[in-house]
Symmetry: none
Subunit: 133 residues, 4 copies
DNA sequence: GTGGTCTAGACCACC
DNA sequence: GTGGTCTAGACCACT
């Protein structure tokens, strides 16, 4: 498993897990239709409680990234992934604006900031070639 | 006052306040050496608790964005703003990676993502010319 | 076979099966006295477990929609279908009230709601004329 | 409190609670902006666990029926209620079709069925005059 | 064995 | 005081 949680972090475990699963999908490590580990299994591997994993899975299901399949258990959305919803745009907007403002105040130039953005988007996907579909 | 808090938001009030003050500095609405409203005053204007404003100010002072001035009270850092610390880089990295991954999964192209990043950085600074509307 | 199960649905398979068989009877696709596929056969065709089909049949027999026939195996109730029992009325009441309330809150007018109800009842029976496509 | 849970029912407690809260909104007993009891408080009154109430509230928040207000606690959506989404239409369709089919097979006429639908929609709203806005 | 539900008790952040 | 998070342990329905 490629997942690593930071027990000291201030971001909740279930949220870290959500982020890492989405990154897994983005990178191609998790492909549409792939089965995920069972809640119990993953919880044990990560050394956390079953309910915490369950919460992450549930939220990802509600968002449409995951599905429960009656035979395969929990799987990655095999059909269309959720698109760019208004909620996501709002979240993106809010978070980017804060980050950009702080970066600017701290003296980071626009080019440095944008370069970092591009790099992180690219990193995410680059692994696809070596690893995914 | 250019500050607007969203009582329905999931972001804590003190954090919203921090963000908006930093955005105010980035845009030039708040310039180095400018005095900020007193804790009591701002709390009253925003209709929130003293403690909340206090917490925001304290954290911003700790980070080096604000200072206490004998006569003017709390002012915007008149000397060098805090630079790009390791903590900030880590935060930037973590948050951007999550956002980029989700954007990618949702089908947002790299160009669209980067464009949005640049736009939000630019928006922040553009107001500087106008000197703080 | 006119039955289609959704493995991603939150409704249990045995319940989906029950619903579709009742809809089959309602539409006339299954007529009183008609034999049903054997448990084994149907399970194989649908790609699901024997137990699941068995559970559906058993419950439908208990309710009186199906019967066991010495020679034909399981058949559709050839005599009087079960009537409007107190249990059914209670279920109908409970579910309709919830749906109606949510529809109302979501801004669906009474006429739109009732129209939908009538349409779905009508759809079910209209196929009867065609005798079970 | 107007809420009554059936501990024997096969429908989960949190779902019963959700339904009753929506019915409360539909009837006008709960008006936009009204504060709801705290999770602890309601849980105690209903004799169930805090987490069960929490789950109901959380789901209703996600759907947009409720909001957390930083000062008033949990309140009924003060702005626009969620409209008729595709998911709701699908749910309505699925459930009504099953109910209609079973009603038809049990010998309930279209008029009797539709009348019941209209009655339950009406009941829900009628209380508004006496009780609500 | 799976996911789903419920309970119980604890700690924390926020206001 | 509030809601949010996490843990622990239990039972059930479904396949």
């Amino acid at each position: 498993m490629f997942i690593e949680l930071d027990l000291q972090s201030e971001t909740p475990l279930y949220e870290q897990l959500i982020n890492q699963l989405i990154e897994g999908i983005a990178s191609g490590a998790l492909k549409p239709g792939d089965p995920l580990p069972s809640v119990r299994n993953l919880a044990e591997n990560l050394g956390i409680n079953l309910h915490t994993v369950n919460k992450s899975y549930t939220l990802l299901k509600q968002e449409g990234f995951l599905q429960v399949h009656r035979k395969k258990g929990v799987i990655v959305q095999p059909d269309a992934m959720p698109g760019v919803t208004a909620e996501f745009e709002a979240k993106l907007f809010r978070q980017l604006r804060s980050l950009a403002a702080e970066a600017a105040v701290r003296g980071m130039t626009e080019e440095a900031f944008v370069k970092q953005c591009r790099r992180l988007y690219g990193d995410t996907l680059m692994k696809r070639g070596g690893d995914g579909q």
